[in-house]
Symmetry: C2
Subunit: 114 residues, 2 copies
């Protein structure tokens, strides 16, 4: 039994507003949106953080970026622009230890990115 | 002849402080660092933006995230934490149209990410 909330979302055991999914990836709305569009793309398999990626995960990790492109088009932010962010470790703001790519759009963005 | 500055860096035609490279990816220091550690990971092949990724790029795109893990360890920020960011489009702050993953570490990060 996993206690990982994002594993449970991927398995349909916890509700989320899923906007896209395929065999490998699920994308759903962040519950604390920081932009008009704020989505999280996760792999279905549990990988705790970027530090836990290995070479065998290359295609899977890339599919998170491909999913960002897909949902950006779907949400109407492909042309206006969007930012994707992944935090590794509590020191960088990672709060759920199942890798997730933040996809934000629908407003201007400042620099630095936090 | 490409006019893309990041293609030229990948080809060694423009100097950059390269900290890691392999067959597919080059990582170098950002000239306008926004954190004590601020690196850019790029693919050697020219892909203008996230909107130009297609399914055939999955493994290559993932190798940018794998490179982030690798250089985070190399730069001593794997444990303290790091944030990776990719902007798509001028509206999100993309200034060079060759995809690049910002890798930032060595300081605390705020939320939202810009």
């Amino acid at each position: 039994m996993t206690e990982c909330i994002f594993c449970k979302i991927a398995q349909g055991e916890i509700p989320a507003e899923i906007v896209y999914e395929n065999e490998d990836v699920v994308v759903f709305r962040d519950l604390n949106p920081q932009a008009p569009i704020h989505l999280l793309a996760i792999p279905r398999v549990h990988i705790a953080s970027m530090n836990d990626l290995d070479n065998a995960h290359a295609a899977l990790a890339g599919k998170l970026l491909l999913a960002a492109k897909t949902v950006a088009a779907q949400e109407g932010i492909a042309d206006s622009g969007y930012r994707v962010v992944m935090n590794c470790g509590e020191g960088a703001g990672q709060t759920v230890f199942h890798i997730h790519l933040h996809i934000l759009g629908g407003r201007p963005f400042s620099w630095p990115p936090g």
